[in-house]
Symmetry: C2
Subunit: 327 residues, 2 copies
Amino acid sequence: MPSEFDIIRQYFTPSSISQTRDDVVLGIGDDAAILDISEHHQQHQLVQSVDTLVAGVHFPLETSPQDIAYKALAVNLSDMAAMGAEPAWFTLAITLPDADEKWLEAFSESLSIIAKQYNVQLIGGDTTNGPLCISITINGFVAAGKALTRHKAQVADKIYVSGTIGDAALALAAWQGQCSLREESIGYLQQRLNRPKPQIELGLLLSEYASSCIDISDGLIADLEHITDNSNVGATIILEKIPLSKEFNLNLTDDALIVPLVLSGGDDYELCFTIPLDKQTEFEKVAKGNNFKVTCIGEIESSKGVRCLFKNKEVEIQISGYKHFVD
Amino acid sequence: MPSEFDIIRQYFTPSSISQTRDDVVLGIGDDAAILDISEHHQQHQLVQSVDTLVAGVHFPLETSPQDIAYKALAVNLSDMAAMGAEPAWFTLAITLPDADEKWLEAFSESLSIIAKQYNVQLIGGDTTNGPLCISITINGFVAAGKALTRHKAQVADKIYVSGTIGDAALALAAWQGQCSLREESIGYLQQRLNRPKPQIELGLLLSEYASSCIDISDGLIADLEHITDNSNVGATIILEKIPLSKEFNLNLTDDALIVPLVLSGGDDYELCFTIPLDKQTEFEKVAKGNNFKVTCIGEIESSKGVRCLFKNKEVEIQISGYKHFVD
């Protein structure tokens, strides 16, 4: 059985896990990594956040090591996207029930692929023994003063989402036995749950236009509430305007699921953001020109809280996003 | 029962957890923290590492929340000390079996105290539900090119340790029922196990003198081996020279425990480092002048591996530090 040091050497050293970035002076293998920040100086700010995935809580226990690795990094990259930041480095704290070498090999290979894809490097790790849990701290850079936050949405700003909403929640609902999926849609929908695409490029564009931004992890309403609460405003969104995928529409046989899946289901990792009215036309033109799918779904208002209208009537929203520890 | 958001708001927001550093532009409460690095530019490099504590593995299950919080941050600060870095910020990923408000209050209060003491600020957190596990990623700064690493020890360099060695391992052995402690020593020894003192100030001094450095977490031999392996050298240390505390000597009734406790016991979080021969005299003078307890315990050699002599005979070392996953 390999020791902790063997695991780190074999599966998480720079050569095996990710490409070397020029700004990593010293990577894994010492008490800490050493990082060159000289290029950033006045022009940039460092952006950092942490996200943990617990087996059985954030992903089904039988999820493949490839999907777990991908998702663990993707949800962190998504935080960088939501800040309008360009990701750079990450640390990985992984707690493993045992040192299953096949599992580790698959995990580290998959992590390596997504790390290369987004040009981020693993710079530090800690491998411990216990119930499966993966915690990643990610670092990125934004132009000074240009970071997207949650607290600057203004009344009359337009509310947008990227991509389509509800696919991940539908895949999860099917996995939980709440509904069944058509054979030909399973691949797409599971991909949407297990392999969310961090919207880094869109985030970088938004840093020029958006007044606020968040990634949809807890559910559209819950995450939009983070923006409205932090900005001391409210919002109304229109259910009919929320973009749904072809597969979502094909597989949704029970209309009663629309509200929980689209409004409260999380895990899409699309961006929800606000655009000031006077920038709307230009933003939509630029987004279209760059092939970003963005959809206006509502408006920021002064009246607190988040409302959702369907056929001009307010939808009753009972579940508001995934909250740990709530009974 | 509080939700995840309530927990973050109540126990881990800047006002409750730690003082505000001027370089934290935006702390907890968004998708990521925003950090000003403009002061550092060419003069400094960013140093970052991650350390996880798992309940039942890294600390006994009945450890108080105060001690867990202290130790979780202290072991990370210790990594900064081992790099010769000045710590700045940290992220906290905490997995909790339940939302016990008394536990959380005690934990966050204690975390706040040590954070203030070392002028570090909590800048990001993720609270999840599961078996107790705390993962901290810490950030610090070193003068460019001055970081202490493990790979630059040279033949003939002198090997030093700070403080005294074995206290934490003795406290752990007593807790495990392997030995008993004198009533009057319990407080001191448990403090050494639960409240290790990160050697930040010594680390900063060492960045001017030492050729390599590591903190003793896995055990003296195992950690010194990290230095010799990475530097492609070997080492001989002298058992009689290893500094032991008065309490250690008073409580050690079974001589057979000396080797496992002093050579292989971890958790002391003292520094082990190497000083080039030509800097030895000046270093000892400066260390003494600054009231640092440092002791020369051996020498770097060309012959690979780490040897320990006792009465001029080589000690058999069977256990070499705590390794997760080893049967």
